[in-house]
């Protein structure tokens, strides 16, 4: 972490960049938040630790409009989102300076709570084990048990774009990201209905999943229009639950990098990644494998076509 701060201070001091985008400590040990830093002094509040899951690429849209370059720290998965946004002309690559940061998986306080670790005062990350100081004494657990779902299905630790890379990464991938999707496909339609009904009914329409998503960046979102009945309020019916979620997932189809931010921020713990991954899995099967954000030139499957594509027939969503 100190190395990152020193480097950022140096780049600010020599005028290469005008501001730094990173994470700042908040009053809880488990809640660093994205922040811009404009001076060496402000950088003393900078943190980079096991809780820095937040993907910073979306903030670069805003800073692309400002004077001077912005230094951003990106984890391997964040670089996919960054590329995707460059591809969509939302970020000006020339206005950025990217430092790739090493990642050994990010953890979340929700997982710690699920493991029964509450009243957290401080977290110490010592390699493979986490030691947590709580109101009720010291607890510990294996690091990977507290990790975000997305880190278990990490796309790899290579930075897809970076001006320089600082820090070491460790492999965390230990599950197939499509396993749960396949499992759901094998259920009956009625069982899937019940599953999603139970999950989506928890939604409070806080819109956090939309707001955090790097590729959900339309200036005017359909969910903000007055013509739409379910603007900025809790879903009144089960129809709205599904409409919001189907449309949200569909609007990012072919652009979603599977960065996992939507599922991470959902206060209700709804597994939104299942919808995104279903779309990704389908497009891979229908049109060949495609990873959004892998580079800045390939064309998304939904903005392309061939003369002999598969027909939109029933039966691809799962068993009857």
């Amino acid at each position: 972490m100190q190395e990152l701060i020193e480097r950022a201070k140096a780049l600010l001091a020599d005028g290469t960049v005008s501001r730094v985008l990173g994470w700042r400590a908040t009053d809880t040990p488990f809640g660093p938040e994205p922040a811009f830093f404009e001076s060496g002094e402000e950088l003393n509040e900078f943190v980079y630790n096991c809780f820095c899951g937040a993907n910073l690429s979306k903030y670069l849209i805003e800073s692309s409009a400002l004077e001077g370059k912005t230094l951003a720290f990106l984890k391997p998965c964040d670089t996919y989102s960054f590329n995707q946004l460059c591809k969509e002309h939302r970020i000006d690559r020339g206005k950025t300076y990217i430092i790739g940061v090493g990642c050994k998986g990010k953890i979340t306080v929700e997982r710690l709570h699920e493991l029964g670790i509450k009243g957290i005062l401080d977290v110490e990350d010592a390699g493979d084990t986490l030691t947590v100081k709580t109101l009720y004494g010291e607890k510990s657990c294996p690091y990977s048990d507290a990790m975000l779902e997305r880190c278990h299905a990490c796309k790899g630790k290579e930075h897809r774009v970076a001006d320089e890379v600082i820090g070491e990464s460790a492999d965390t991938t230990d599950t197939d990201r499509f396993a749960k999707v396949t499992e759901l496909e094998q259920m009956t339609s009625k069982e899937r209905y019940a599953f999603f009904q139970a999950e989506l009914s928890k939604c409070i329409r806080c819109n956090a999943c939309r707001n955090v998503c790097p590729v959900c960046n339309c200036r005017k979102c359909v969910f903000d229009g007055n013509a739409f009945d379910s603007v900025q309020k809790a879903n009144a019916t089960e129809f709205e639950e599904k409409m919001f979620h189907i449309i949200r997932a569909f609007h990012v189809a072919g652009r979603c990098t599977d960065c996992g931010e939507c599922s991470r921020v959902c206060p209700q713990g709804i597994p939104l990644h299942l919808l995104n991954r279903k779309l990704i899995k389908d497009m891979d099967a229908f049109y060949g494998e495609y990873q959004a954000g892998e580079d800045t030139s390939t064309v998304s499957p939904l903005t392309a076509y061939t003369e002999h594509d598969i027909e939109p027939e029933a039966g691809k969503g799962g068993n009857e």
Binding site: L184, E185, S189, K190, R192, Y193, A194, F195, F196, Q197, L200, V222, A236, T237, E238, F239, E240, K242, M243, H245, I246, I247, A249, F250, A253, L275, K278, L279, D282, M283, F286, Y287, P301, L302, T303, A304, Y305, T306, E307, D309, I310, E311, P312, E313, A314, G315, K316, G317, G318, E320
Partner: protein, 146 residues
């Protein structure tokens, strides 16, 4: 089959592109071919105009089945519109089934201006299928029933 089921008259929305399928529907009509009155046709300039939101909104407003008809791939009036429709709808239909919608409640069919018979046949078959599925309860907005 209970009495209720026998009396069930589904509401079917058919989005038809102006250049092929709408003309196909016209031909079916002028050739006196029968297709069920449950089918409500909505004319669109191109099948590609149909935003996924249209389909969901149609269900919200009480439809039991939605069918989207356009020119055969390769025959689009705007050259490539229906190629995009095809990709978009393949993903959308799959996603809707994935969240639990019954198979076949949303359908895409290519009908040319010369295929009046195919239009009538498709509609007859689709209405039968929706009648067998019954009312749409998995995706409906309760407030829209008066």
């Amino acid at each position: 089959m209970s009495i209720d089921d026998r009396d069930f008259r589904p509401v079917i929305a058919a989005f038809c592109c102006n250049w092929c399928s709408y003309a196909g529907a016209d031909l079916a009509g002028s050739s006196r071919m029968k297709y069920p009155a449950e089918v409500k046709i909505i004319r669109v300039p191109c099948s590609c105009r149909v935003n996924p939101m249209f389909i969901l909104r149609t269900f919200e407003k009480g439809a039991d089945g939605v069918i989207l008809c356009g020119c055969h791939p390769g025959d689009c009036h705007y050259s490539t519109g229906n190629y995009y429709t095809r990709r978009r709808m393949a993903s959308l239909i799959s996603l809707m089934e994935f969240v639990g919608l019954e198979r076949g409640r949303v359908r895409v069919e290519w009908v040319s201006a010369a295929e009046g018979a195919k239009f009538a046949e498709t509609m007859n078959e689709f209405v039968e299928h929706i009648r067998a599925l019954g009312k749409n309860t998995r995706l409906e907005d309760l407030r829209c029933k008066n």
